[in-house]
Chain length 89, copies 2
Amino acid sequence: MEDGRLSTKNRTSVMIFGQQYTISGTETTEHIEKVAAIVDEKMSEISSKHMHLDKDEVAVLTAVNTVNDYLKLRKQYDLLEKQFKRLKD
Amino acid sequence: MEDGRLSTKNRTSVMIFGQQYTISGTETTEHIEKVAAIVDEKMSEISSKHMHLDKDEVAVLTAVNTVNDYLKLRKQYDLLEKQFKRLKD
C-alpha cells in the first residue's frame, strides 16, 4: 500500500486525523478504509495523551508503536511456526 | 511503547527522519533503536518515492503502511494458529 497519486491501482480516499489522503494498492477499498480507521484511532489516542505533540510527531509515534507491535507479533509467529514444524515432523 | 516525557520507564533518545524523539517503554534501548531505525527507513523510502509530500503526510503514510503490514501478519498468524490447533487435536 502506498500513496497513490502516481499509481494506476485501486484508489481510495480516506480521512485520517482531519486530512484527506488518497491511498492506492491491490487491497480492497474496505481493507484500506479499515487500515485508515485504525491509524486515525491510534493517532487520536496518542494525541489526546500528549497534547503538546505536532501532527507529524503524533504520526511518527503511531508508526513507532505499530512497528513495535509488528516485531512482537513476528516473534510470536516465528515461535509458533517452530512448534508447528516440530509437531508436524 | 509511547512518547516518554511523562513516563518513569526506560527512556531512549532516537533520531527519526531528522528529528529527535524520546521514547520510553519496558523494552531495551537496543530494541527501541531498532524500531526507530525501521520507521526512519520506511519514512525515507516513502519520501524519496513521493517528493511532493510534506513531513506529516510522509509520517501518516508510514503509519498506514505499518498498520497494513501488521494486519497482514496478524492474518498469517491466525491461519497458522488454526492449522497448529488442528494438528494438535
